[in-house]
């Protein structure tokens, strides 16, 4: 079981495999710096798609040796995304990564019906593995970035993505906490009604290989002292692996609060795609950017 983000990076490096990463518009200091660490850790082989002069200039400025990178000249920002997606589709790369281009242009190429990277009929979402000094293991948090107001089907998809990721970290039956302000199911909080439905689906085996409960608050999910104090019976026992949030407005401030005030680090990844996609915020720390690449490699690896 992988319990920290450094263990994640070590596990990926130990696989001995070099993952080929097609990087759209990979010519900014942020992207080049994060990739350089992954190259030095021995698990990344980047294909930098963009303006060759710019790429060489930026890497010179940073003192980064791009000798182990393949540079592919592409003058157009949106074109670099199309090219990178194409490389993943035709098997010339294992992982897609966004560089300095706009998220909209990047996602347009990923979402393209005929030439994109989405699994047929799949929901696009986002899962973060969050590391906190004050928690005894990693917390998988969803959706930090993509779905504004997920409906029932989208929540089920979010849960399944997070469960799949937890399995890859060696957690056989992750504990999934469906987060709300309260532990009561109530029509006043429509998301709690979705949660009740999801718990029944898990009980019937429609959502597999997890222990699911909700609605619960953060204390019931992550603090073993809370359930006895509140007189609530929950199989989560304050030991949740996965926190599923009802809305983006709820999840986004939660994880950002912990990054800023809880000394958190994270590894995040887009989900619903045929291959791992690295899509990081510039606000993430240097460490988190490196961990995002390592996570994509873990998810790209066979078992």
């Amino acid at each position: 079981m992988i319990k920290t983000l450094d263990e994640l990076a070590v596990k990926v490096a130990d696989s001995g495999r070099k993952y080929r990463i097609a990087v759209a518009w990979g010519q900014d200091p942020n992207t080049l710096g994060a990739l350089d660490r992954a190259v030095k850790a021995g698990f990344a082989e980047p294909f930098l798609i963009g303006n060759r002069n710019r790429i060489e200039e930026e890497s010179d400025n940073l003192g980064i040796d791009i000798g182990s990178c393949t540079v592919i000249e592409e003058k157009d920002e949106a074109g670099s995304a199309v090219k990178a997606v194409e490389m993943v589709r035709d098997g010339s790369a294992d992982i897609l990564m966004k560089g300095a281009l706009g998220t909209d242009k990047f996602l347009k190429a990923v979402l393209d019906k005929s030439a994109g990277l989405m699994k047929p009929g799949a929901v696009m979402s986002y899962v973060c593995a969050v590391q906190l000094p004050e928690y005894h293991k990693l917390l998988f948090v969803t959706d930090t970035a993509v779905l504004p107001f997920p409906d029932l089907d989208q929540k089920v998809a979010m849960a399944n993505y997070a469960i799949e990721m937890a399995h890859r970290f060696g957690i056989v039956r992750p504990k999934v906490a469906l987060i709300s302000a309260t532990e009561k199911v109530s029509g006043r909080f429509p998301n709690t009604v979705d949660y009740a439905t999801m718990c029944k689906m898990a009980e019937k085996g429609q959502i597999k290989d997890c222990i699911m409960d909700g609605p619960v608050d953060i204390f019931l999910a992550c603090d073993p002292a809370s359930a006895p104090l509140k007189g609530v019976d929950t199989p989560l026992r304050g030991d949740a692996d996965i926190l599923l949030f009802p809305t983006l407005e709820s999840c986004n401030p939660f994880y950002k609060g912990l990054m800023l005030f809880g000394k958190g680090e994270l590894a995040g990844m887009l989900t619903g795609t045929t291959h791992p996609v690295v899509l990081m915020s510039r606000s993430e720390s240097e460490n988190s950017k490196f961990y995002c690449i390592a996570l994509s490699c873990l998810m790209a690896g066979g078992d």
Copy 2:
């Protein structure tokens, strides 16, 4: 300016005043323990309304001397709330406090149209002053506990309550961050439309004595490095005093995450009432319970 919760307690103690606190069903270890600290700090004079035998038994068990408390015999749980509210209404007490009775029964007495404690036409809400080792001052967070999906008028009320509280802490023009997942106003996130309206109201002086901006994410609100990195211009400058959240589902996990993983402490209070009301969760730490009482005393004090 009060910058920590200990400074808050010192300020209240230094006023030299003893605040009379009417405690409904004040006969559980939690309530008695928190009150005992406030009595010892010199600013509280509790009126314990409940079962006299039980009160004496519990305080004996805890080794607490209730010599400076007045015990008022009342056999009925709901009746203790009615009696406590009555004492505040008729001027025999300055502050109302919930003891071991259910929140529903307690709030019924507070909300009673003719015999309750609400200001006419006021919105009931909740503000917490949150102390975090990783932030350089207190953060006023609302609404952690009461309003599920506040509409525009309720959001304005929430802002005004938090601004009023910040003023009491000596912050002349608090910076109010209207929290979302993004800094863009968009019909896809209806709360951001309310936020845009509120900013205009603040500009026109309809919301007074503050610097307001939103929507913003947590980084723009509280991290000075974020605005330059994102190329966003905001008068908050990563130095927010007040965080206003769009829903209870958003605010509640945020503050609980910081209590659990950010070594947070808090002082919280019900708002919209004619007199301060202490309504704490059993999950709060011993320190936070004491700070809640101190906060109510600060808010009860003249200027």
